[in-house]
Symmetry: C2
DNA sequence: TCGCAAGACCTTGTATGCGAAAGAAACCAT
DNA sequence: ATGGTTTCTTTCGCATACAAGGTCTTGCGA
């Protein structure tokens, strides 16, 4: 099997309902969407994708169905395509995410175990370190940072100890945006983000739910600020990362 | 096709990504789960279900995949089964739901159009009327009330005008519980619920977000109170409605 | 040159076949 | 009688076949 473990961060806490093989396929497709190899609004042909992943249509189809339930792809009259959110939809998604992640932070501060606190600290530490590093190109930076960022937020969500939450988050986070956002951050904004991560981390470990909650909300809203500045008006059509296409010129297959 | 339009409330706002046929299948299965024809934790055999619905395994499989992404069924080592939530998981789901529906109510109060306000009023009115009616049996009552209740909450969610929210709610509401809950409500509790619905309705129409928010949270939490009293300890195993099995004795197919 | 229509091509939706793996049952031995 | 092993049955996972519907192209006529 030829599945690339590229930005292949598995959905994290696999909800114990999927077996690896299966979620690997989904993750592979998801990765293609988040990092921009499949652009927003682009059509997806089952056969092509199947060949590309070295398998038959059936499992691909299944993965796409799951992704549809998570709101990442849609079915058009005939065919699949990745969703291309309008600016309003993006705003909605961020507001919702602010609400949910605040909830997560609040509960993490309340209920996180020692070990989970440690995980949050570690995730923060890694990201803090990574924001100081230098990178060969913007793509690599975005890739690394987005991955670690995702890990941090996921750790907090898990630390909330709400069994239902991780699954729901998958339906809220807009992959491509979080990814390309990191190519939009200025140095100052990156520092600010890092600072808030640290503060959130502290609030959780000091068991200060209200503080963790409001910090997280603020953090997400500031994320929206960055996105809002960079997303063109209404129908976004490719708001997100052309990064991959700009930086990986070899694979410009049509 | 032999799909029953029984408790076949379509997912409401079909996220514009599914076509009727498809969502009808999903709804049919969902209905079987919510009203207890398929019990929590019960195994699902693709072939059986397919025959039962008068179709092949493939579309059934697809529907199940979608339901898995929504956290309503899981894949075991080999096979499907409906999720059987532990008491803790149910608590988590209700807390999350409280958070999300508060968010919905808040935004509904802020952003609902005139027409949407009217829809909320109407949904409340219908449920208010229905709680006065008399019913032939407990099953019918639960069925009608659960349906209208769902409609009311869905209307509020839609009135929030957050495009992302309806889809997310599907992953949070535990079907079987909302259904059987209505067989647990005492007369007083039903009245209380009705009262809160009215208050929520008012708060939304008077554009009082904070009030709508806290009322909704309270409403959900009180819902949890009822559930908490009726759900047996940890691993629930059939906490929910045996209603269907008790009241529809003819279809006791094993 | 442009518009419309017919045809070819492509893509999905559903059904079905087959191999593999899990589960159940039966059987043997201790 | 019980435990372990072996066989047998069930059920899924994946691949593939075929039909229906959509899309694009091409060709003809105005």
């Amino acid at each position: 099997m030829d599945i690339d473990n590229f930005v292949c961060e598995d959905s994290g806490v696999s909800p114990e309902g999927e077996r690896n093989e299966r979620s690997a396929i989904r993750a592979a497709i998801q990765a293609r969407i988040t990092d921009g190899r499949i652009r927003p609004g682009e059509r997806i042909v089952e056969q092509k994708l199947a060949e590309d992943l070295g398998m038959s249509r059936t499992p691909v189809r299944e993965a796409l169905t799951a992704l549809m339930a998570l709101g990442q792809v849609t079915r058009t009259r005939s065919g699949w395509e990745t969703v291309d959110h309008s600016r309003d939809e993006l705003r909605d998604a961020f507001r919702l995410r602010a609400s949910l992640e605040s909830f997560a932070a609040f509960n993490a501060a309340l209920h996180a175990t020692e070990e989970q606190q440690e995980n949050v600290r570690r995730a923060y530490g890694q990201m803090h370190a990574a924001s100081g590093r230098s990178y060969s190109d913007a793509f690599e930076r975005a890739q690394v940072m987005a991955g670690l960022n995702r890990a941090f937020h996921q750790t907090v969500v898990i630390a909330s100890n709400n069994t239902r939450l991780p699954g729901v988050m998958d339906a809220v986070v807009i992959g491509p945006l979080v990814f390309s956002a990191f190519s939009w951050y200025t140095e100052a904004q990156l520092e600010r983000s890092d600072f808030l991560h640290g503060a959130i981390c502290d609030a959780i470990c000091e068991r200060d739910p209200r503080r963790a909650e409001s910090l997280m909300a603020e953090h997400i809203f500031e994320g929206w600020d960055v996105v809002a500045l960079n997303v063109t008006d209404s129908q976004s059509n490719g708001h997100s990362s052309d990064l991959w296409h700009r930086l990986q010129p070899d694979s410009r297959k049509k």
